[in-house]
């Protein structure tokens, strides 16, 4: 089995209402499709990226800088997909 290093990338929350229940749910649903361990970090708080509620607990306001830490054999494609979700303002309904 290949040994992988976790990938860490920063992203700014684009949703005008912050990381509220719906974008958090979208993120967690997308994250659960990957085998990798996915964590989202905001200041001193760390959330399991596969749990919508833990993501809401980050209280990530619009413009907040988050870090995504992904560890696993599908980490690279996971990071690409998930960064896009946080950088997406979310359309008319946010």
């Amino acid at each position: 089995m290949a040994i992988t290093e976790p990938i860490r990338q920063s992203v700014v929350v684009a949703n005008p209402n912050g990381l509220h229940m719906r974008p958090a749910t979208r993120f967690a649903q997308a994250a659960r499709k990957f085998r990798a361990k996915i964590e989202v970090i905001h200041e001193d708080k760390r959330a399991d990226g596969k749990s919508a509620m833990e993501l809401v607990f980050l209280i990530a306001m619009p413009g907040a800088e988050l870090w995504i830490e992904v560890d696993g054999d599908d980490a690279e494609i996971a990071v690409e997909a998930l960064l896009g979700l946080l950088a997406d303002p979310g359309g008319d309904e946010h």
């Binding site: 005008p16 209402n17 912050g18 990381l19 509220h20 229940m21 719906r22 749910t25 919508a52 509620m53 809401v56 607990f57 209280i59 990530a60 306001m61 619009p62 309904e93």
Partner: protein, 155 residues
Amino acid sequence: MSMTDFIVWDAVLPVLRETTREGVIREMIQSLHGQGQFPNTDLEDIVRAVLRREQLGSTGIGRTIAIPHSRHASVGKLIGTIGIAANGIPFESIDGEAVHVLVLLISPQDRPGDHLRALENVVQTMRDDAVVDSLRKATTTDEIRRIIELNRPKH
């Protein structure tokens, strides 16, 4: 922020009469209105806003809890109420379970931080299954209030 800061206690419904998702949402909004909230507002407009949000994805977060919510221009600060449905309401929750404990939140258009903190507070207060269970069994507003105050999250 704690739930005691935004729950309108006189609008809490220990025994919801309605039996559908739309019905209980309307019942809870009417209860807030009965306590002087949303003056000069078409209540159906608020009901529609909350139902529209439900259509985008159920706010039934599992463990028999639902947090229906919306922003609405008729409130100047975030308010909420609690409803208990002893028999359970079909809610298309993420875990497929019927909902027994509802917390309805209406927030101003421009205060996303308050909304996030309120959501966090509701979920943290009900983090323990025993709390949800005791809320389900509560039959008076005083009991509900005591349970919420005893389980206020420590920050």
